[in-house]
Symmetry: C2
Subunit: 451 residues, 2 copies
Amino acid sequence: MRAPDIIRKKRDGGTLARAEIEFMISGIASGAVKDYQLAALLMAIVWRGMTADETQVLTESMLNSGTIVDLSRVLGPKIDKHSTGGVGDKTSLILAPVAAAAGVLVPMVSGRGLGHTGGTLDKLEAIPGFRIDLDLVRYEQVLAKCGLVLIGQTAEIAPADKKLYALRDATATVESIPLISASIMSKKLAEGIDGLVLDVKTGEGAFIQELERSRLLAETMCKIGAGMGKKMTALVTRMDHPLGRAVGNALETREAIECLRGDGPADLMDLSMELAAEMVLMAGLASSLEQGRTLCGRTIADGTALERFKGVIEAQGGDPRVIDDLDRLPRARTTVDLVADRSGFVVDLKARPVGHAAMLLGAGRARAEDGVDHAVGVVLHKKPGDRVSPGEALCTLHVNDETRLAEARSLVASAYDYSDVPPVASPLIVERIARVPSTRPVPASERKGDS
Amino acid sequence: MRAPDIIRKKRDGGTLARAEIEFMISGIASGAVKDYQLAALLMAIVWRGMTADETQVLTESMLNSGTIVDLSRVLGPKIDKHSTGGVGDKTSLILAPVAAAAGVLVPMVSGRGLGHTGGTLDKLEAIPGFRIDLDLVRYEQVLAKCGLVLIGQTAEIAPADKKLYALRDATATVESIPLISASIMSKKLAEGIDGLVLDVKTGEGAFIQELERSRLLAETMCKIGAGMGKKMTALVTRMDHPLGRAVGNALETREAIECLRGDGPADLMDLSMELAAEMVLMAGLASSLEQGRTLCGRTIADGTALERFKGVIEAQGGDPRVIDDLDRLPRARTTVDLVADRSGFVVDLKARPVGHAAMLLGAGRARAEDGVDHAVGVVLHKKPGDRVSPGEALCTLHVNDETRLAEARSLVASAYDYSDVPPVASPLIVERIARVPSTRPVPASERKGDS
């Protein structure tokens, strides 16, 4: 088998056999396949796409490039959630403790923010002392103790994905549904979960903006997971406006804690609770979504969700006092208000420029290797549907470095749109896709060579 | 400027600016652009194509990556010929001495064979002692002394092409008209020529098989050359059957010498003389193609072409006695005849399986890094139009290593097709495209940065 022949087959629109995909992916570690050959194959995949079977095999090959965590010693249903990324999306920090408090085990391996989107790891690291780099032994221990654990991708998990992801970033081959699906699912399937709830974003601030493609991405991932014996549910949700009011790491962590206290913005709270209810339902702890919502709501009301979050912060080396004293989170030196110059209703607040503005202030990173400033960001006082009057503060920029403040400020201003009549609110959740496991989980050893 | 942005632009079907193409090509030498980024760009170019302007700029960037030979001290019209490669195509060995004897200076930088196609360098190296690795000083000296010089690509000539060609071979991105055109033309434009005659093959045994695409390749290369101030003529010629009767290095060199003696097969002789006449016309040494043919024919009749070939062999370290004693060329240990099992007319003799069979015998290489056996190959006694009877020899295989003899033999047998009625002969030359220089030659220093 030769890499150029495999690349040629995909280039010409052919369907790759299992052995061919496995050859390319195993060649990453062995060195038999060169970076430039992978890059050419990636571009050919962006061009020609992949069938469902090819995507499934690609995911399995990437998964099998590393350790598949065995959490069978931790008894109970293990369910995770993954979001494809948005602006102000801090649902993980809310739903993980909620679901855990409702009895779900939540082993969560998350990522960092890139470009205009934020990342769960950056928000967690805003908590003084919080460690996301636990090894897999400690990962299991924290899960067993707290009912949830929140870490970053370790070297053992899907190393082929790490390599491919870096290559995709450098070669403009990120935007491909099979490649995105395989990348996400190879990591998630390594976590040791029984099921996964997906939050696939769509709209202006999402990675995939067109609803049809977002739906396809959701279906592709659900199919892959079900094919690997996992329960899968995906919500396709709108990412037109930032979720909640805070954009920026510590600001978002603060807002998440406020939600866990029962005092958060409605859109953020609703989506977090809906995703948590899906997890509870998937775990078999509720017989209906409605019952799941009730169970989850109770964990907020009785403070057990907040307690869970405090527990995991402590277990992962963070300062648990932030739960009761939000001022222990990092704060920016300066705040700058953006003020309305007209009256009317806010009818639009585009997520992407707001996320981009937060990045310019230092909250996000333009390139994967950049660092972030946890303290800075944007807090939105006015969102679509809100009435504004001249002189009222639309939002507050939290600033440490003023170098790109003017640019950030004008970006946020450009994100707002007004009208004399209030907008018609559209529902956040567009679609729900659920799939039951389509096969028994088959060990990798049995699957090889059956192409 | 960032490589991923440039790749993304081409991926999405955009047109690259001069500065973007120059950034990618100059980045090869500087290391600013990685191999995997080039590979992704190459695949995006195979996918999206390039405009005439992009192809022109790509060629210039590759040309400017190395030395452009200055042959101005050697007075006279300098014209080269390039073929896109075929089976049994030894026209260079015939037309270069013929054109030189007619007064053209022929500075020829050639390549090696790959796959089913042969290469001029391998045929020359079949001559004992012949050196194709002259440096550029010696290149100029031999041209001045002999009127022709026949070498391989040096490290100074278009190093970016060397790199890109190796990458294309490893990433299945060879078959792209802009990439083929830029690769060929960047090398040819570095030779120090005033004009170039192209032999663009089309048909079953050609690299580009469809006539429309062969014509496009011819037009693209002519346009590039004319845009760089060169006279350009292209003949699109059929490569359905092997050219001449010999396929394999020493066997082809022998046949070329027979042609120079006035004793070669008609198809090979006709095409070689037609290409030589084009060179003579382009050089301004004849006022019509008809007059060019007469001049060239005279160099065969009076033995001056053969003398020129003897001269260049001697100047490049080869044994000039091969001219008079063909048995000094390497010979295979064994010959095996393939015999006809029916009577009728040969109506087809596919070039590709014959070339492939010669490769299996050791005459060609499957990969660029392989060596070749100069002695082996196939001599075709029966070609389309010839009548055969049972028991007559169709062809003779010249063999040293019998490992793949059976395979080679059955390939050649499969190349033949018969009928009870003779075939209608189709002309070898399908089309002639000529272009005069469209601009004055602009020095590289003036061209940079005007995108």
